[in-house]
């Protein structure tokens, strides 16, 4: 990569890093995992920078890389639950910053693809067509998934809220 191309890459990363981390966090709900995902994507981007820098919708392209990296990671075979005699070394889950009714907790209740649709459509402000192209599904599927995603969010919010009221 030439010096000017590398400078351009650095400039792009500096300008988009915060936004990419936020999108990654909304998908995976863990800042460490979000940083790992973003690092992976930015490394891939560096390798192909010479070719992709001229793409018209570079931001959409990078979001596609990020979303696909997360969806692919979720499908890794070792994510499947397996019985084990040894407990992994994990820390207790952090409480949601916005409480049990918060959008974060509700978002986590959605399946991966539905969550990706909701984040891309309503956080990244992407159109139905852009989201469909990015996720490799039809526009109709995006429409139905975003509708169902929002319905699920609303339904969960009402459920949690009324459950709290009854207590």
């Amino acid at each position: 990569m030439r010096r000017d191309e590398e400078a351009e890459y650095r400039e792009y990363v500096a300008a988009r890093l915060d936004q990419l981390r936020r999108i990654a966090y909304l998908l995976c709900h863990d800042w460490h995992v979000a940083d790992d995902l973003v690092s992976t994507v930015l490394l891939k981007l560096f390798r192909s920078w010479r070719k992709v820098r001229a793409i018209e919708h570079l931001d959409a392209y990078v979001r596609a890389m990020l979303t696909n990296a997360w969806l692919d990671e979720r499908r890794r075979p070792w994510r499947r639950e397996r019985p084990t005699a040894e407990l992994p070394e994990t820390v207790a889950a952090q409480p949601e910053p916005d409480g049990e009714r918060g959008i974060g907790r509700l978002l986590r209740e959605l399946g991966p693809r539905q969550r990706a649709v909701v984040v891309l459509r309503f956080y990244c402000d992407m159109s139905v067509e852009e989201t469909a192209r990015l996720l490799g599904v039809s526009a109709g599927t995006v429409k139905s998934q975003s509708t169902r995603g929002l319905e699920t969010l609303r339904g969960l919010a009402v459920k949690v809220y009324s459950g709290k009221e009854r207590r």
Partner: protein
Amino acid sequence: MNEYRQDFDAYLGEPPRTSIDVDRLVVAGRRSVRVRRLAAASGAFACCAAVVAAVTVFGRPVAAPVPPAAPSASATVSPSLSPVAVEPGERVFAVLLAAVEREAPQVTGFASLQRRMYECELVMSKLTGRLMPQNIREVPYDAARAAQACPPPHGNGPDRLMWQGTLRKGGKAYHVKVEVYRTEHFDPGAPPVNETDANERRIAAENGEAPRRGPDGESVLVMDYLVNATKPDGTGVFITCRDLDETGAFMVRSPFTADQLAAITLDPALHL
């Protein structure tokens, strides 16, 4: 800005300090590009070596694999192989190549498929006092070093096989990775075994990602760029593809169709 965006931003608040260091990324990227160029330069040699290896595998008699169940009428079986014991990796690779060539004859570049293994460092777990693997990375397979490079149960073993390479179709290049490993099989046609299984199935079904049941009870989740399958004998098959040219046509991520990937995976001879 839509109304939800504000909710999301309020939820996210001020993100914590990032661990991403752009300078280190750039250094890693430069190294990666150098390695790729080096690999490309030595590609001709590697291809010749792999072709010789493939010819050797196909040329020599290998053990007849025992199918996990009676082959179904719909599934195509790879050619029968003669009964001389060979290393499991060679047998599975031969079956895999035969299945890919049969199901996707327009795909080329099989000679680039290289067997891989894990390399890791073993550190003492503070909780259990046992050795656990860390910094796991993938390196070219070396039979003499495999057992020590990252020992089982977490690392290399006869029940964990990996290959990766660059396959081509229609002028495009795709990175393809194949993993065949021992796992637990859940029959998608049987009732859920526990609440987690039930919940996972519900979410998968809602997202149109429910694994379907193969002709011999296999669990198969397949898309054109990915297949994640388990077989009743406990063999797991995981294949991922991504495009290498990254020209922006990011929807074309695989040299295979979903049907081709399913047919390759469901070959009854493809098992550990």
